[in-house]
């Protein structure tokens, strides 16, 4: 089995390094960050923290140097989904690409470039500590399944999940992965959206502005309901659980805001509000949050 990781940042590195341990899987990684690519090719991809391993994989900054693969796992930031897919489309002429990205809307873009798509949601976390090195911050499960509008086969989804689970990245393959994805999307809209505007870590935001987080989550729950999606968990419970286990955790979008990097808000609060508009379930607070995070991004240009 040949697998290409598309976007070998923190999440991509966790998948790539784990899969690299398996004898029957050949792992490729596409990433534009040349120093990271060079370090991986010279010394292997190293994980620290929750996992301690060095994995030999093939990294390339030019996608033309990567052979055809059976599977892709795209872990690029959602801002880069289209440009990444443009670069790697030729690798998957007969392959299936699985998104483990945040938010909504990526699978639709991927479907424009490859024949079969797998929708995924992932919970592990990590951060790149230097070229070729990623710290595995938290262990978490991944849920995948055929993307209804342009599906991979269930067999393909199962096969990818089994390989990931064998490699140490626990993954479940479902016929309908939407419940899992939407649960995380709604959680993220509340935690990331409100955290980015108040600059509060998750747990402190829960203590200070829980009612706003709830109002934001409830809009998402109404949209999921109207779409006929059965949520895997109640996002409100996830918010509370997050307060217990990750009190001082700064949501990724808050980290982006603090570092003045473009955020994924178009795939989170903005994406949710767009879907709400399409199906006639308005999400005024998610829209408001999206506009204000765009406002923050605009403030960096003044």
């Amino acid at each position: 089995m040949k697998v290409c990781i598309i976007g070998c940042g923190a999440i991509g590195s966790l998948f790539a390094a784990h899969l690299g341990k398996l004898d029957d899987v050949e792992v490729w990684a596409y990433d534009p960050y040349q120093a990271h690519v060079d370090a991986i090719n010279e010394n292997g991809l190293r994980l620290t923290g929750e996992t301690d391993l060095v994995s030999k994989i093939n990294a390339r900054s030019n996608a033309q140097d990567i052979p055809p693969c059976d599977f892709g796992i795209i872990a690029a930031k959602t801002l880069h989904t289209r440009s990444a897919m443009e670069a790697v489309a030729h690798i998957f002429k007969d392959g299936a690409v699985c998104s483990v990205q945040n938010g909504v809307g990526s699978e639709e873009i991927i479907a424009e470039y490859v024949p079969r798509v797998i929708q995924g949601t992932t919970f592990p976390a990590g951060h790149i500590t230097g070229p070729g090195v990623c710290n595995h911050d938290t262990i978490g499960v991944t849920t995948i399944g055929p993307f209804a509008a342009k599906p991979a086969s269930q067999e393909e989804s199962d096969r990818l999940a089994q390989a990931l689970t064998r490699s140490g990245m626990e993954t479940t393959s479902l016929a309908d992965p939407r419940g899992s994805m939407w649960t995380k999307v709604i959680f993220n809209c509340a935690s990331n959206g409100v955290g980015s505007l108040t600059r509060l870590p998750h747990g402190i935001a829960c203590d200070q502005v829980r009612s706003v987080m709830s109002a934001v989550a409830q809009e998402g729950i109404a949209v999921a309901e109207a779409l006929g999606i059965t949520l895997e968990k109640n996002p409100e419970d996830m918010i509370d659980y997050g307060r217990e286990v990750a009190y001082r955790h700064k949501p990724s979008m808050l980290q982006d805001v603090e570092a003045q990097r473009p955020t994924e808000v178009d795939s989170l609060n903005g994406g949710l509000a767009d879907i709400g508009d399409e199906i006639g379930i308005p999400c005024p607070l998610n829209r408001a949050i999206a506009l204000m995070i765009k406002g923050i991004e605009h403030s960096w240009t003044l």
Binding site: L197, R199, A205, A288
Partner: protein
């Protein structure tokens, strides 16, 4: 009717100093100042107060940190920030039994705080003028825009409109600009709704009042939120029976396209709330956006935008204050 002879300005920041410096030079007026710091009172007593910029004045004053040193007065002008009203009133409690208190705080509702400390007649007010405090004894007069006063809507009979007209005349005679209204709420609420959206959104986004506040071409333009939030404020005002004097959305568009009062320059006004956030000091959101949330509750009108922005700004305040547990 009582003639105004002795005036006390409480809080000599930029606005307070402008009032002291102008009204204090009027013949027949004794100007007193209640300060927070001893050194401020001492310097004012020794050097008087100088105004430069749009006016060129120097006035002698009687200043103290203790109200009992200032004698009886006919008019108190409370010129502190909203966040300092409570502390100032604690010091005024039991003093100046014959005075009327004039307010010029941002937003709405500081009158209620004053009333908790005494039964003085209250004049509601708001000011558009601005100045820069150069030192304890020197203020520069920047924007010669008006101060509007009128009866406090909760107690419109007190102190009586003729006295309010007398205060208006006093301020105008001093070289500052004032206008009295029999019903202040239409102008007060127009500015309140405008300020609530522009200040709160600015505080959260770190944006000065820039043209994107009026952009509505694209779905992702910030103007949509500003417009929706202002429309919510207008609906709450309407439910309160208040007819606005100006449309807040038009005020917003005009300010960012015509450059407000700074004609010519590129307009990017740093609102007071944004300034507070940037300096990590508590904002006036309780009296601005918060007062609209409370007014909405009174009349049972939903206010999701105001409630959300109110709580977000409170959250922003926590983002720095929670790191200093000793503060509370």
């Amino acid at each position: 009717m009582k003639e105004i002879k002795r005036v006390c300005v409480v809080g000599a920041g930029a606005i307070g100093s402008l009032l002291v410096g102008h009204i204090g030079v009027l013949p027949g007026i004794t100007m007193t100042v209640l300060t927070r710091r001893e050194s401020h009172a001492k310097d004012l007593n020794e050097q008087g107060l100088k105004v430069s910029g749009k006016s060129n004045l120097h006035t002698n004053v009687i200043a103290s940190t203790k109200p009992e040193d200032l004698g009886d007065v006919d008019l108190v002008i409370l010129a502190t920030k909203t966040t300092a009203v409570d502390a100032s009133m604690q010091r005024l409690e039991g003093h100046f039994p014959n005075t009327t208190i004039m307010m010029i705080q941002n937003g709405l509702g500081c009158e209620n705080v004053v009333r908790r400390y005494g039964s003085w007649p209250i004049i509601a007010g708001l000011t558009f003028m601005s100045g820069v405090r150069q030192s304890d004894v020197h203020v520069e007069y920047e924007l010669d825009t008006p101060t509007w006063i009128g009866p406090w809507d909760k107690e419109a009979h007190s102190p009586g409109y003729s006295f309010i007209k007398q205060v208006e005349a006093l301020i105008n005679k001093s070289g500052l600009i004032s206008k009295a209204y029999e019903d202040l709420r239409p102008v007060q609420w127009s500015k309140l709704i405008f300020n609530s959206a522009v200040n709160a959104i600015g505080a959260v986004t770190d944006l000065p009042h820039v043209p994107c506040f009026a952009d509505t071409n694209e779905l992702t333009d910030l103007g949509h939120l500003v417009k929706n939030m202002m429309a919510e404020g207008v609906a709450i005002a309407k439910a309160q029976g208040i007819e606005l004097s100006s449309d807040p959305w038009e005020m917003n568009c005009k300010a960012v396209t015509q450059g407000g009062s700074h004609g010519g320059e590129e307009y990017a006004h740093i609102t007071s709330m944004l300034n507070d956030v940037r300096h990590k000091s508590y904002t006036e959101v309780d009296w601005i956006t918060g007062s609209i949330v409370r007014a909405a509750l009174e009349v049972g009108v939903p206010a999701p935008y105001h409630e959300t922005l109110y709580r977000l700004v409170k959250g922003v305040e926590k983002s720095w204050s929670q790191k200093q547990p000793a503060d509370h």
